[in-house]
Symmetry: C2
DNA sequence: CTTTGTATGATTGTATACAATTATACTGCA
DNA sequence: TGCAGTATAATTGTATACAATCATACAAAG
């Protein structure tokens, strides 16, 4: 989102751990030991600890006895998340429709095109990646830190959950079409249409996820 | 929200700094120097740094050159926040209506009674405090970490903003009445009524804040 | 065999030392 | 006087040392 040119070690550790937790490298319930992380990542405890504090702040890990336990996403969490996204995604999309620039539209379109490309290749990992990126970009292009900070963690946790479930190809196909509809509305700078399109998309995503 | 019996120094520093930023002790744009904070709080850099990383994670401070700058809440942020709260508070209240226990209702009632008490005394600091606590409790009693984590930072930032504006007594009066309506709906375990009541309250709060 | 107490080890919390970077101020030169 | 360059100081980033706490295992007593 923001230009992180000069990653400090602490930043790198944070991003690595966040990715690993979201992608399931660390299982739900697993206990993290600082020194193990230090050895694995080749840094001292200080940057590891700072990264852990940030993860704790966004409830990806929580205190457990003395150490830290990796938090998973329960089905109940997911229900709450999708309900909240149903209520918020439309707002984000409407804002993006008002504010998105031509350059940003171009970036969004490239993401969309790539997603279609990977769909043709049946490369579900990359499809998922582009799917994620598309939504992140919409949050970003809403040009509101509040929207970005609120929706990104919610979306991340859904990704974390979907890691577990098998990918469904027919849904991937529809999902790309829905993304295209969202893109068209944003390109037309039509807030109402964008809100409607993303609401439809989120509804379908919710139904799909809750079934799986 | 969770029982924090054995506050570590880092936790204490975090809470202190968070409170101080939200209450305006540190002005928007102010640069925080680690050593100054250490001396002021009488601890070493380690707990201070960990606290700062957590504040950074919830965007109460941000990197600025080498150091950290205190972030304020702009009017535009506030518009976004209130718009999102309009969409989310109802969900939180509905959940709370389904799940709240008798004991929790008692706690909520005590908060409400105190707010009325302070209203009689025209003690606007304590009125605000109880107002805040009431909403925090609703988030907490929704018994959903997702709801709590999403709405608490939004609410906190509103408090931060209101710090600047003068308190309006007539609004405080109405606000208590609206809180009572919310409480009644929760006590009746009526999700629809709770959602309607808190939506009304949030709408009014939004109008009041945006005017001020 | 169970339970309790103690000792030992593992792990985290905190402080501090050191390195690297950046801002600042001063000096010399044009 | 103005500017550039360099030296110096301030500040953060990282590593490590030390203290405190907690869990575990083992031994002894009932």
């Amino acid at each position: 989102m923001i230009e992180h040119k000069t990653h400090t070690l602490a930043d790198q550790v944070f991003e690595r751990l966040e990715t690993d937790i979201l992608s399931g490298v660390y299982a739900r319930g697993e206990i993290l030991i600082e020194m193990e992380l230090c050895q694995k990542l080749g840094v001292s405890r200080t940057p590891v600890r700072e990264a852990l504090r940030r993860l704790q702040q966004e409830h990806l890990v929580e205190e457990y006895g003395k150490g830290l336990k990796v938090l998973g996403v329960t089905t109940e969490d997911l229900q709450d998340i999708m309900e909240m996204r149903l209520r918020l995604e439309g707002f984000a999309a409407a804002r993006a429709a008002e504010r998105i620039t031509e350059e940003q539209l171009q970036e969004l379109k490239e993401t969309l095109d790539l997603q279609e490309f990977y769909l043709g290749k049946h490369d579900s990992d990359h499809i998922k990646g582009m799917d994620s990126k598309f939504h992140e970009l919409v949050y970003k292009f809403s040009d509101s830190v509040v929207i970005y900070d609120t929706l990104t963690p919610l979306h991340n946790k859904v990704q974390r959950y979907r890691q577990k479930s098998v990918e469904n190809n027919s849904r991937a196909n529809l999902s790309v079409k829905e993304h295209r509809a969202i893109y068209e509305a944003l390109a037309a700078h039509d807030p109402k249409a964008a809100e409607a399109a993303i609401l439809e998309h989120t509804k379908n995503a919710k139904n799909h996820i809750m079934k799986g």
